[in-house]
Symmetry: C2
Subunit: 532 residues, 2 copies
């Protein structure tokens, strides 16, 4: 265990709460939060926001919340403590509330039904920010103590390695796991994100990424550290998004590629007057995506990470040679997950080990070919899975966090993901990367989105099956001729992929099943494939 005694002047806790205190000192009157696309719009300055945070702290104390207690928040993109995915089913939310042992639930009116069956005290917010709103009344409970005692009356957590946030993974397989992150890690990850995004007090961040997704990649804090303005949205509505991109001086946003497609293909989409940075994770940006975003004046930055790594843990760092490359080559280069992020200590690709193997981790060669598992260590790796020592032990076996993502290490030390270990297709004894296949199929100009999964095959064991959404501009050309398109795409694949990796089946579909965070649910596709 860590024993940290605060007897030295030079050793201070690394706690992201310090960011808002500093912002409220330096830019008290600067706009911190814009929340306008609602019946009762609100705008908060750093000074007022800090005061509301102080009121909330006292209100929680008055409600009996003590250090270490969990407070659940079920809300759209407008609040954060122990965030719960609003897109889950009631029974899933109930599981998380029970597993987390939450002592209090702060819930938005739109999601009140998710907390209905809970025995835990519930505070509803009507998202008005006005007197009469139950959440505002709750804050008022804290205001008297707040006025009386101020910040001095609140004890800071004395251990920087204490839990900061409990965030549940989206759980594409099995029960969601509770990821415990620390104050120290949150502090460093937030500073790293602010630095990597080159944010400052002139920046405006648009909340498209859900805050319940890895605590919004620490951006709720990163923005405050940079004194940036945050624009919140209740829903991912592309008309609202374009309104803000065009009129709210937005400079940054984060989102998965599927969200980017929604952005660039919206009727309101046009070239932006000032450059905007889009931080993309979840899947590699395709050439088409890169080119479409660039046409709008949006610069894509490709990062990779997990809930267990506070969001971004690697970044595709732009090399000087990139400018001279063709779009195809640029996309190929940008598809790599890249190198360790700022404050991320170490990213390795090691030989995959059996479940209970205890041999030391061994790096794969830097040949861009040998498949291994990405493992990571450092201050921005989670502390543990909440109330799950078995899963924690398994994840940290060997002294590094095992991501479960299969990748190669290129000669320049950059990492490129080939697949989630469970998404690899074993075709005739060969490992076929579903991601690599998708990357090549996506280069067909008529493909908007594609997902590849394994399907049983009598001769080869497994063979790749591709599910494809056609590009709206070209869909009408292939109407009633899907079979011809399938032949065309297979031909396209044959020119680019080894035989065992070519899709045996191609299915044109109107949409793909996705998790609440925009990731394609391959488990669902595998079920569909199995039934065909």
């Amino acid at each position: 265990m860590f024993t940290v005694q605060l007897e030295f002047t030079h050793h201070h806790l690394q706690n992201p709460l310090s960011f808002i205190l500093r912002a409220a000192q330096i830019y008290s009157d600067k706009i911190a939060l814009i929340h306008t696309d609602v019946t009762n719009p609100v705008v908060y300055t750093f000074g007022i926001w800090a005061q509301r945070i102080q009121n909330l702290a006292y209100a929680l104390i008055k409600a009996g919340i003590r250090p270490g207690d969990r407070v659940a928040v079920i809300a759209p993109n407008s609040a954060i403590i122990t965030p719960i995915n609003t897109r889950l089913k009631p029974q899933e939310v109930t599981y998380i509330l029970e597993h987390s042992g939450s002592r209090l639930i702060l819930v938005d009116y739109e999601y009140a039904h998710l907390a209905q069956s809970s025995k835990i005290p519930v505070i509803i917010s009507n998202d008005t920010g006005r007197a009469g709103d139950p959440y505002e009344s709750f804050l008022t409970n804290g205001r008297r103590l707040s006025e009386e005692k101020g910040w001095a009356g609140l004890d800071a957590e004395p251990d920087e390695n204490a839990a900061a946030v409990l965030c549940y993974t989206s759980g594409t397989t099995g029960r969601p796991k509770g990821v415990i992150t620390t104050l120290r890690g949150s502090y460093l990850a937030a500073i790293a994100n602010a630095f990597e995004a080159q944010m400052n007090r002139d920046s405006t961040y648009l909340w498209i990424l859900p805050m319940f997704h890895a605590a919004g990649w620490t951006f709720p804090w990163a923005n405050v550290f940079a004194f940036a303005t945050q624009v919140t949205l209740r829903t991912v509505d592309y008309a609202y998004i374009w309104n803000h991109l065009l009129h709210s001086a937005v400079t940054h946003y984060c989102g998965a590629p599927t969200v980017q497609i929604g952005i660039y293909s919206h009727p309101l989409a046009r070239r932006l007057p000032k450059p905007v940075t889009a931080i993309i994770a979840g899947a590699a940006p395709t050439p088409h995506l890169i080119s479409e975003l660039e046409k709008k004046g949006i610069k894509p930055v490709h990062v990779y990470g997990l809930t267990e790594t506070y969001g971004p843990f690697t970044r595709n760092y732009e090399q000087a040679s990139l400018a001279a490359m063709s779009l195809e080559d640029r996309a190929r280069s940008m598809a790599r997950q890249g190198h360790a992020f700022a404050t991320a200590e170490e990213v390795r690709v090691v030989y995959v080990r059996e479940e209970n193997e205890d041999r030391p981790l061994k790096d794969v060669p830097r040949d861009g070919k040998t498949l291994g598992e990405i493992v990571t260590r450092g201050n921005i790796v989670m502390k543990e899975y909440f109330r799950d020592p078995e899963a924690t032990k398994k994840a940290f076996r060997g002294g590094s966090f095992r991501s479960g993502d299969l990748a190669v290490m290129h000669p320049d030390g950059s990492v490129a993901i080939m697949d989630r270990s469970k998404d690899i297709i074993i075709s005739g004894g060969e490992n076929a990367s579903s991601l690599a296949i998708e990357q090549e199929l996506a280069s067909h100009p008529h493909v908007l989105e594609v997902s590849v999964v394994a399907r049983e095959h009598p001769k080869w064991g497994e063979r790749p099956m591709a599910f494809v959404i056609l590009h709206p501009q070209h869909a009408s050309n292939w109407r009633g001729r899907h079979h011809e398109f399938e032949c065309d795409l297979k031909q396209h694949a044959k020119l680019r992929l080894p035989g065992f990796a070519c899709p045996e089946w191609v299915e044109v579909v109107p949409e793909l099943p996705k998790t609440s965070t925009g990731k394609i649910l391959k488990t669902e596709l595998r079920k569909v494939a199995a039934k065909l």
Copy 2:
């Protein structure tokens, strides 16, 4: 004491060495160091630089250097470990070498005489970077081990609170004190400087600030964290500086106001094609300085700090209202030392206490008037004075570091230094701030530089005396009429200052005595004043 056991995957040391390892991974072929204004110019990429650092580590091990040992470096702006001021006299250097207990001296050929009388082993560098140079031979000693064992053969310091750098204060009064900073503090301060300066891989930093001054404010590391290129200079030569400003794509530099004067008043000075950021500390920038720098396309940023705070600890954060202000008002606003820097935890102004007083620290009111002492706490405050527990105890009495700088706290929470405690002039029982007087006298259009000290006065106890350097453009107008100029300046002062703060004496001088780091030596001026 801190007990930190490294048993968790999520807890990693904060050590600025990690920056160069990461830079060498991500931008191995990018230029890290440019050192060209010498007979044997050298340019190093991040990859080669990292290799040289590894060689040096093994060479030091081979030379018998063990953890905790001090290695002294006496060199111009082209190296750093335990940096020693090259502008000191031999006996001062001898004192530092003895007090630090250095086990080895790395010395530049130009300063070899400073290490001549030492009994400690000396390695001379001829600054050639070529075979035959004794320093290169020393590195070669490490190369074989380096090739054999690589980074894996080097043990990282297991405690992030261990000493990183031992840097001696310039010591305007008494013996210089050895400031011990930590790895953790260096890591955070370097990231903070990179963020505050908004540096990135397109930045080029020009080394005007001496690296022996508070370890170059952690910029040797900050630049690497940002993947910026560093241009080193052996001496502060304004022709070389302008050559780099115009032709080396310089984006950032640091320096005291006196250095800035040298820059903007040089014959080569002209408007720069791209904006450059000048980070200024040591004294507040005057209206004249701000206007002259802005004419050259140089944006001044005012920071404040001490060797004991790793350099910058506060910054004058630009408010939106600044753009609409007159130059005079802007300068008045920019003269404040401002608010806590990124990662700096706390800056307070507290009532000045007697030497041995143990009452708790009490903040002065935020009225912009009440004089108190600046005290600080946080991760970027030094660990201790080396081998001087008495001085450490004194400096940390009350639980915060006592800066010795007298300041007021403005209603917006920003700090404004009035004076070093020893530079206050007690005139007729009133406290007159020599800095405030200088600020007003510097607004006279014919004043280039001014320094004000106390001089004994039979009636008032003390009265201010001003030493003035005339602006070169106007000096000829006043030739042979210094007495008339003195009357003119006194008149200028009377319109702006209370009677007790008006200079009783004005002396026009060709230059001012300065420390090696460009600070005006008021002790010398006081001696001159006493003798007049």
